[in-house]
Symmetry: C2
Subunit: 168 residues, 2 copies
DNA sequence: GACACTACGTCAGCCTTGTTGACATTCCAA
DNA sequence: TTGGAATGTCAACAAGGCTGACGTAGTGTC
């Protein structure tokens, strides 16, 4: 069977077989379940859900972010986000400040209590991630990140990069 | 600062910093969105959801699987699964056969129509996975899989391995 | 100043998909 | 025969998505 691409020969492309891809798909499914399991347990005791976790996470990452900005990152409607945000503000975990330059905007911040919950959630999630990283080793981690980045929608990849830059 | 573990020195553990872990967490979040985006688009035109996709996927992987078995793999209640299965059976995508050895059990199979939808969904999902694999390269794929496997709950890892063995 | 537009909040209603609890049926096995 | 396992089904409920409509406040433009 001739190699239509020229450079890499058949065997070098074994990682692109349907069976390999299928295993990757299932690995994503099962791993994502593990990924969310620990925070989910904590949240359920507080009658919060994953949606609250996501909001808390990204507000913590980018303090002072606007509602619109958060909407784009999370990829939900403002009505959905608002429901979550309202409870977090009522419960004193998030503070909403009217913008100085543009008073239509609301800038979101975690309160001390909000930061405490964020820490609790991300400690649990990081512990699992750390264990997985340690078990797999540094080279595997590089590969892991490369594949994940390549799997994102371009727009989400931009959001992802932006968040990283903001912390460097 | 002394190295408490002995062997690897500080720099070798840079991949375990909180910032690295945080980036990994966000990468998982954004990548999973991409991972499900293509099937979701197809499903929404058929008034099906992700739950239907998951059922179809695993019935296709393990034809003749029982309801209970599927329950364990998917990690949902029988009532939840039943609602999904009922619509799939009504729509003629899934066939439920009474067990021969144990007539309490129902063995699940995809019909031709079900297989066609499965193919449509998995083609879309594999296309994205293939693009990501190709962009990242074979070494990255190995690392990707290693980290994902390490991130699973032990019970889910067993399910994952079992599915793989069944196809080899 | 009038007007269009933007950012945000909110109300109402709908859908999917998860949950619990209760109960019927069927059938295997002790 | 009787207990328990596997399954199906009904009802009720909640989280968290969605759309559509409407209100309000602030911005920017003509």
């Amino acid at each position: 069977m001739p190699d239509t691409l020229g450079a890499p020969r058949g065997e070098a492309l074994l990682f692109l077989t349907d069976e390999q891809l299928r295993q990757g798909i299932e690995a994503m499914f099962f791993a994502y379940r593990g990924f969310t399991a620990d925070p989910d347990r904590i949240l359920s005791t507080l009658s919060y859900g994953r949606a609250h976790h996501r909001a808390i996470h990204f507000i913590n990452c980018a303090p002072g972010t606007t509602v619109n900005n958060l909407l784009n990152i999370l990829g939900v409607t403002k009505q959905s986000l608002n429901r979550v945000l309202r409870t977090l503000i009522e419960d004193g975990l998030v503070e909403s400040r009217v913008g100085r330059a543009d008073k239509r905007e609301r800038h979101l911040y975690l309160t001390e209590e909000g930061k405490a919950l964020e820490r609790q959630l991300s400690d649990a999630q990081r512990a699992r991630m750390r264990a997985a990283y340690r078990a797999a080793g540094p080279e595997a981690v590089v590969g892991f990140r490369q594949v994940l980045e390549a799997m994102m929608d371009p727009e989400m990849r931009r959001n992802y990069m932006k968040l990283r830059e903001g912390r460097e």
